[in-house]
Amino acid sequence: MVTSLQEELEDIRQEYATSLEELTFNSKPIISNLTIIAQENMQAAEVIARAIEDHIGKCAPGHKLPVLYLLDSICKNVGSPYTTLFGRNLYRTFTGAYTLVNDSIRKKMHELFKTWKQPVPSTGQPLFAHETLRRIESYLTKAMSAVLEIQQQHQQARPPSFRSTPPLGQTGPGQEPSRSYPASSASVPASMAPSTSAGGYDSYFQAPDTGSGYKSYAEVKPASAITKASLTADLSMLIELTREKIEDHPADVDAATQLSALTQLYQIVSTSELSGSQLQTIKTELDVLANDLGRYKSNKRKAHPDHSILSPPSKRAWNSPQLDQQVPVWTPPVATQPVYASTPPPAVNSLSIAGLQPDLLAQLLIPQMPQQQQQPQYVNNSALTAALAGIPGLVLPVQQSRQVSANDAAALLASLMSAGLINTGLSKPENKMLEKLMGSDVELSNKFIQKPRSDLVVLLYDSLPLLCSTCGRRFADTERDRKVRDAHLDWHFRVNKRLRDDSRGQSRSWYLGEEAWIQSADADADVNPDDINDGKDKAGTDGGDVNNAELAKKMQEVSQRYISTPKDAAVVNTPCPICMEKFKSVWNEKAEDWVWMNAVQNSNGKIYHGTCALECGLI
């Protein structure tokens, strides 16, 4: 009997689906076996991909991860057409699973997702389309910040009354939809709640060099000990809030400035060593902003008081339970806001106040204040004020009696810049100029445009005092820009030499094609910023730089090196000492084994990424 192609495909699909039932734990042999079957049945790629997607969709949450690993293995080892096929529905497949699984699996999914963003050595491109990855990433970011908020929430004790108050992540119709996701009870069956939160999000929020990560933020700690971790946690919160504000008010330029300042600040805080006083400076500024935003947020909530009832307790099922345990018993009294607000809150209906959350700033600050965490129970307004006032080093906005205004964003930016905290690429006197640019009077309006502002012209000239005498290009007088200038002068030199040496006539080149043009960012610059950052001035794309090409080739070569995945559990979890990223195990056809790609081992047994080692001159 002749089977039609259709039937044959259906057979393969069913067979594959049956094999998938066995994949209930992270089993190397099963995954590699299924990967090989997928590779050998390329003609059935479409149905195999569908079988896997279906299975991820309907299998028990605890079994989803190994199937995702299978998807990952097929894409990484077989590649096309599976990458395309899975890419189509990847957002749905991934996020659909994400909503249903527990914290520790989510953490694994984050790690898995991270590897997808890495360029595949053979193509230099990430595994899936940029747009798909971006969507998933933004989903994960939102999910995480919502979790953070809910965790904040948990540090408020609201045992009997919390039904009547919405978690921060909980929103009603008409509000930003993404924020409602983590709190959505539909997607988190109570039975799915993890019994312990082994890791959970804690490690995700970890600042690079603190051991305790997000937990340390929640931990009891003197208020004066502002740490990197606590600041980054504050910052992610503020960033998320600001972004929400911008979504509500797209034209709010100050909010945009603020978001910009906060994001830069995040980068700075998390990557540089700051002194205690610097940390304190930032903290003080942040408190003012938090106050402002907190009021914005609580006012917004006042506009939707009804939604507060929509929050059943099960919604927090998958939050870290240990946070629940240490929640102090503290019910916010009515109208807490004035404690922090320097201006009286707008008059509101007292009915809606009853169900209100405390001011967001309170949520931000209280976890860091031992007094608030340990003792205060049913404090009233004045007691709280007194308690806060007693904390050394904590500057309350109310004490500064500073008018919280739209200018705060600019002020924040300005003070951070003058403190030398924000890297504007300009030296200090030029920072002053940038402050001017970021000042609130500079705006896209007819009024601003019409009135001559010769003072700003400094930005076009004096701020860029180094001049190329050949072409007139200007550079700032900073270490980085001086390097750019040197590379630029080198470039002139090479061009001149080639023009002298090369007597062949020139012709017009063809234009780039779409794909090449889209990817031509580096070809458009005469100096590549990566080179500057490396401190290797090997710039120049004036028709193909030999060094660059050679290096790229070597990189490519090194990225193909691999070692067998170590068996020792401790070694498996040790990250690359250079970039601190963990290695990812993939099935290697040739080696018939699980391997770490782009990995090299030195004589002491230390394992590095090949590309990292090459970059640092170790190989």
Binding site: L434, L459, Q506, S507, E514, W517, A521, D530, G543
Partner: protein
């Protein structure tokens, strides 16, 4: 009486010096057959936002330009000018303010885009940090003909790249050219400065050898004639395709993303066709800033039109008094000059072009389908839009003597691609049909580069060039 050496203004070889006081501009015109040498002796000077170096001599041919100085300068010039005068009523302070306002938006985006920050600082990703992408302003410049739109676009682009940005400049006006030829819509990233000697075309596209000013790489689509109204559906199709390329670039290039886009729209303002087109451009390029140049009515119309869009900012600037109105003859001769420059370069930097002979049968030429029967959809009652869904945008052309002297766009498309795919293909370059021999079935073609005639699709427009 001509007494040699007695300081008589001989137009030819006398060296003239000009002192420009702060915030004034020297406007001058150079004929197509003349060359003028200009040197900045002192102070600072810029042409449409691009600064001139002190010392080197710049050569200008066929140009209507202005040298502006913020703080005064000394200029030395030599050669024959068609006209020149100094004006202290420059629009530059206004245009610079516009730039500063845009620059503030870029700085905000730069501080928010984590990918950009990482790339610029060389920092590595921080675990747990929320990833954010931010986009710089996307500016659409609109105004009547001869309002100085293109010059303003150049100024904004030049100032942005001077301050370290890499804006993407987009030209949607097929009659002129951004790094390409008339008949196109195109875009390019300006990570480096513009070549002031080639201001007319926003600098020069790449050649096979090195250049003193880094060449720019445009992405080019072929429309085929001067005015979008010649064929609105086709124009919208190529424009849409261009916008896709630009948005893809923005997605992968953080620096371009935070730097934003500057779009020089075309000068059609007929409210019937023009406003519909403006809507399309605004949507395709996600425009969030509209700058109207020198027309109150236009400004007010657009202000009203977009008042419900919270994220859209409509502002106005005045027309510069220096803008020169030219006529159709001038446009024709400019276009002829651009065709010539594409193949042969300029006298100071000549390029070689090559002739190839090929069989007519090996040559696939399309023309855009003329939609003469189609009234522009916007003049029809709402709902009765005549969709040309069935009708292809292109028709295949029989290779005949009609092609003689044509400029053809060589597309990144193969003869067996579908017509839809062909219509969406970008331009690889241009060829010039020198001769069609119908009896011998041979074709003689001028190519910019030494190679066989690519067996791809050629698109014919309304342009001819006579050597």
């Amino acid at each position: 009486m001509d007494l040699p050496g007695f300081g008589h203004e001989s137009k030819n070889s006398n060296i003239n010096t000009i002192s420009l006081s702060a915030e004034s501009e020297w406007r001058f015109e150079v004929g197509a057959d003349a060359t003028v040498n200009i040197k900045i002796l002192e102070g600072n000077a810029e042409i449409f936002g691009t600064e001139l170096a002190l010392g080197p001599t710049y050569h200008f041919t066929a140009a209507k330009l202005s040298i502006y100085t913020w703080r005064g300068c000394q200029i030395e010039w030599e050669g024959e000018l068609l006209a020149e005068y100094i004006s202290d009523e420059s629009a530059m302070p206004m245009y610079a303010n516009l730039h500063f306002a845009l620059e503030k938006l870029r700085a905000q985006a730069a501080g928010t885009d984590t990918q950009y920050i990482r790339k610029e600082t060389g920092a590595t990703a921080t675990p747990g940090q929320p990833e954010t992408e931010a986009e710089g302003p996307k500016v659409l410049i609109i105004g009547p003909r001869f309002s100085g739109k293109t010059s303003l676009a150049k100024i904004l682009t030049a100032y942005a790249s001077k301050m370290g940005r890499s804006p993407i400049a987009v030209s949607l006006d097929p009659k002129e050219s951004l790094l390409s030829l008339p008949g196109t819509v195109s875009a390019a990233s300006f990570a480096t400065m513009m070549d002031v000697e080639e201001m007319e075309t926003w600098g020069s596209s790449a050649t096979t050898g090195p250049m003193h000013i880094p060449p720019k790489n445009p992405i080019v689509y072929y429309f085929g004639s001067d005015s979008p109204t010649d064929n609105i559906p086709f124009y919208k199709a190529v424009m849409n395709r261009l916008s896709l390329a630009v948005s893809s670039r923005i997605a992968v290039d953080p620096k371009a993303r935070i730097s934003g886009t500057i779009i020089d729209a075309t000068g059609i303002l007929d409210p019937k066709v023009g406003y519909d087109l403006i809507d399309t451009i605004a949507a395709d390029f996600s425009v969030n800033v509209i700058v109207t140049v020198g027309n109150e009515r236009l400004y007010n119309d657009l202000l009203k039109r977009y008042q419900s869009r919270k994220d859209m900012n409509v502002v106005k600037v005045q027309r510069s008094g220096g803008v020169v109105e030219t006529d159709a003859t001038y446009l024709r001769s400019m276009q002829q000059r651009l065709f010539k420059q594409y193949f042969y370069g300029k006298p100071a930097s000549p390029l070689s072009a090559f002739t190839v002979t090929t069989d007519i049968s090996a040559f696939t030429v399309y023309k855009r389908a003329e939609q003469a029967r189609l009234v522009s959809s916007s003049v029809l009652p709402i709902g009765s839009e005549v969709t040309s869904a069935k009708e292809s945008l292109l028709t295949k052309t029989v290779v005949s003597a009609i092609l003689q002297n044509s400029i053809l766009a060589l597309l990144y498309a193969n003869p067996n691609d579908t017509e839809d795919d062909i219509a969406e293909s970008s331009v690889m370059g241009f060829v010039h049909v020198l001769d069609v021999d119908e009896t011998k079935k041979k074709l003689k073609v001028l190519m910019p580069i030494k190679s066989r005639l690519p067996a791809q699709v050629y698109l014919m427009g309304n342009y001819h060039y006579m050597e």
